[in-house]
């Protein structure tokens, strides 16, 4: 967002780089003599210590809860470790070889990717449309903002229960409504062809509010002068939307898409609670497969190997996204 702000709004631009430029000159002495340096050295040490002190709580958490598990998980993926404590000898890459030949792993990974694709598109587009609608300046804006964002505040269990009831084939609200307008009943969570879409609908309702807020904030940052100038030149509302709003939102869109892909890849809660991966395994995401092999199937080593394969996939997506973003902003 900031890259666009600096290039477009010329009044604000110089102050930002200026601030940053002043920092290095203070930090690294280019001119001062020896005496000055020796005087400031204990202070710098104290500053450094203070800095580390402030960073320490975060660093401790980072090391204990991220770095250590990451390394330990990698080690575990090379062992036959079981939840029961049996057999934790090193077995090399056997787990990875088994995982790559495991049809269930590929199937669940495929489900995760499928969900990511079919959920990311509506989650971004619907958020954009909702933000545009609110930004047009409807009366009672707070009500729209609240109602669009409120579902995001609910716990996944609440959302899952809520939709499970609505999707109930016999007593559910949705099938009841369909029947009233003469449409056939749908086995929402029990038809392998429909279940994933049913979960996407629930997820969309639940989480689209977050993307909506990001879009709305970005839209409200677009200077009004642009629209004024455009309307003086005779551009209509659609023209303004496609030629001003959308291009101005590009950095936001890139960020939302990245965040959404990462969020969708991690899908687990709703599926576990609404279908437990069924019917016929058609909604089981890879995270659930990792959970099943490790915790209910006891095979921690094997499940760690699948986790690392999945981790590799997420890193790949993030790196790709990083390069795409960089090229755009360059």
């Amino acid at each position: 967002m900031s890259s666009l702000a600096t290039s477009e709004s010329a009044e604000q631009a110089p102050s930002l780089p200026g601030q940053f430029r002043s920092n290095p000159s203070r930090k690294r002495p280019s001119g001062p003599g020896r005496s000055n340096a020796s005087q400031s050295s204990p202070r710098r040490t104290r500053d450094n210590l203070n800095g580390w002190g402030f960073a320490a709580p975060f660093l401790a958490f980072f090391l204990v809860f991220l770095v250590w598990p990451l390394l330990y998980g990698l080690y575990m993926s090379l062992t036959g470790k079981s939840l029961t404590g049996a057999n934790d000898s090193l077995i090399g890459l056997a787990n990875y070889a088994e995982a790559l030949a495991d049809a269930d792993m590929w199937h669940s990974l495929g489900n995760t990717l499928y969900f990511t694709v079919i959920s990311t598109v509506p989650l971004v587009l619907v958020a954009l449309v909702m933000a545009a609608l609110v930004n047009v300046g409807l009366p009672a804006q707070w009500l729209w903002r609240l109602s669009y964002f409120a579902p995001y505040l609910l716990a996944s269990t609440v959302v899952s229960l809520f939709f499970s009831w609505m999707y109930n084939p016999q007593l559910g609200l949705i099938n009841d409504s369909l029947a009233k307008i003469g449409l056939p009943k749908v086995a929402w969570l029990n038809d392998p062809n429909v279940a994933m879409w049913a979960i996407v609908i629930a997820t969309l309702w639940w989480t689209v509010g977050f993307n909506f807020l990001l879009y709305l904030a970005a839209m409200q940052n677009i200077p009004a002068q642009h629209y004024e100038a455009a309307s003086l030149d005779g551009a209509g509302a659609w023209r303004q939307f496609f030629s001003i709003t959308l291009p101005q939102l590009t950095p936001t869109t890139v960020m939302i898409v990245l965040l959404q892909i990462l969020a969708s890849l991690k899908i687990f809660d709703q599926v576990y609670q609404m279908t437990a991966g069924g019917p016929a395994g058609s909604t089981r995401p890879v995270v659930q497969y990792i959970f099943e092999t490790g915790f209910t199937g006891y095979r921690l080593g094997y499940s760690a190997a699948i986790s690392y394969i999945f981790f590799g996939l997420i890193v790949t997506v993030s790196v790709m996204q990083f390069f795409i973003t960089r090229r755009r902003s360059a």
Binding site: S82, T84, G85, A187, N190, P279, A280, Y298
Partner: protein, 433 residues
């Protein structure tokens, strides 16, 4: 010196020390000697309330200990936490497990065997249990679980609907049927009365429900099923396919609803929308509360051999890093107290495992419990392996392959073969216990 004397001695010594340690604080010796016993279980509904009452009664009757229950959600959450706590060395002193899950816990050393001589001190011996239940408590020649009950999958029926449909026998209970055709005919008679369905069977999305009925019917063929790691699954394909076909034939929207989950099935039966319900005995309190004219029986023998899927809530001893002898003794006392007080457990629908209760007049007076008490002689537990049993992923895999058969989308043979392939994959993988 016998083990008993040794234990009695250490307990006495322990209380002397405890008393001595407290003299300076003005506390009473009896309060100091109270030992805290952690007890995990997975009973959260009506049975949870019964269990709490039984625990309170045992606590009240024993001044030496206080049992503190922790209730966890049934299924994977419970079994995962129990396995992790045991593997991590911080388990409770006592836990409840389904007997069918013990083969996944005993070989890995997550639970300790019971010392029957200690239990015998409280009058509980092998003879206290029905033979099938007692057999199930053994693993590799040792006793790993002490059953509190058996809870079979049974048939509830509405006596009012059955009476109007003319399918009651002279004794007021449901007529006996002995073939799939007769059963279907009886269900259709009931459907004419309710105008909705003859039978309720909620199964959608529930591997355990599908499995319970399937395995009952399968075992009625007199067929066996064996799961040996490293070998393909041994099962009678014809019996399996016939059972699945019969289940699918029930779900035709006349005999039973094609798309019903557990909740809708129970609700339908409870409001009189059907004449019969296939479900677990633990649903009984629900129907009593609804003041439904309900009776129950084991699922009719349709294929020659009486059989009924069941499991048992059983006490197990999660392995401790350091066994506290005093606490272990208390655990034995507590378990024997609960067994002896299990008449109230029977009120929740379960068949008590402790025979003196089953043979008591008070139990004989419980209806409809007494009408399915014969199930204890025909119950059949899941085939043994580390991955089978109540609430296991294996039952989920069954649902994944069979639900489409029941919905009429797949052929029974295809669904069964796919389940066998899935099972064989599990059997071919390294055994983690």
């Amino acid at each position: 010196m016998s083990r008993r004397q040794l234990l009695a001695g250490t307990a006495a010594l322990g209380s002397v020390f405890a008393a001595a340690g407290l003299t300076g604080c003005g506390g009473t010796a009896s309060a100091a000697a109270v030992r805290d016993i952690a007890f995990w279980h997975l009973l959260s509904g009506g049975d949870g309330i019964k269990m709490q009452a039984m625990i309170s009664a045992a606590n009240g009757a024993n001044l030496g200990f206080q049992v503190h229950p922790t209730v966890l959600a049934w299924g994977p959450p419970y079994y995962t936490k129990l396995a992790m706590a045991s593997a991590g060395g911080r388990p409770p002193e006592l836990a409840i497990m389904h007997a069918s899950r013990v083969p996944g816990y005993a070989p890995g050393g997550l639970i300790d065997p019971w010392d029957m001589s200690l239990l015998a001190e409280h009058g509980v011996t092998a003879e206290s249990f029905a033979p099938r239940i007692w057999d199930k408590s053994q693993h590799d020649g040792q006793v790993f679980s002490i059953a509190l009950d058996s809870h079979p999958f049974v048939m509830f029926y509405n006596t009012e609907v059955a009476g109007k449909a003319g399918v009651l026998a002279a004794n007021g209970q449901l007529q006996e049927v002995s073939s799939p055709q007769d059963f279907l005919a009886m269900a259709r008679e009931m459907q004419k009365v309710t105008q909705a369905h003859g039978l309720s069977f909620g199964y959608l999305g529930s591997g355990s429900q599908m499995w319970r009925l399937f395995y009952t019917l399968y075992k009625q063929h007199g067929a066996d099923m064996e799961l040996t790691p490293g070998q393909p699954m041994k099962a009678d394909r014809d019996a399996a396919v016939e059972s699945l076909e019969f289940m699918a034939s029930l779900l035709d929207d006349t005999v039973a609803a094609k798309s019903g989950d557990i909740g809708t099935g129970i609700a339908e039966f409870a409001r009189g929308g059907s004449g019969m319900l296939f479900s677990g005995v633990w649903e009984l309190p629900t129907f009593k509360k609804a003041e439904l004219p309900v009776d129950a029986a084991t699922i009719p023998t349709l294929y020659g051999t009486p059989a009924s899927y069941a499991d048992s809530h059983s006490f197990v001893l999660p392995r401790q890093l350091n066994v506290d002898d005093g606490k272990r003794r208390d655990v034995y006392k507590f378990v024997s107290d609960i067994l002896k007080g299990s008449l109230s457990w029977a009120e929740a629908g379960h068949i008590p495992a402790y025979q003196p209760i089953v043979q008591s007049q008070a139990y004989r007076d419980l209806t409809p419990q007494i009408h399915y008490a014969n199930a204890a002689d025909i119950i059949t537990y899941d085939p043994e392996s580390w991955f089978s049993g109540s609430g296991s992923d294996w039952q989920t895999y069954f649902a994944e392959n069979v639900q489409n058969v029941l919905l009429g989308r797949d052929k029974a043979a295809d669904g069964w073969d796919a389940f066998v392939r899935r099972t064989n994959t599990l059997l071919s993988r390294p055994n983690p216990v």
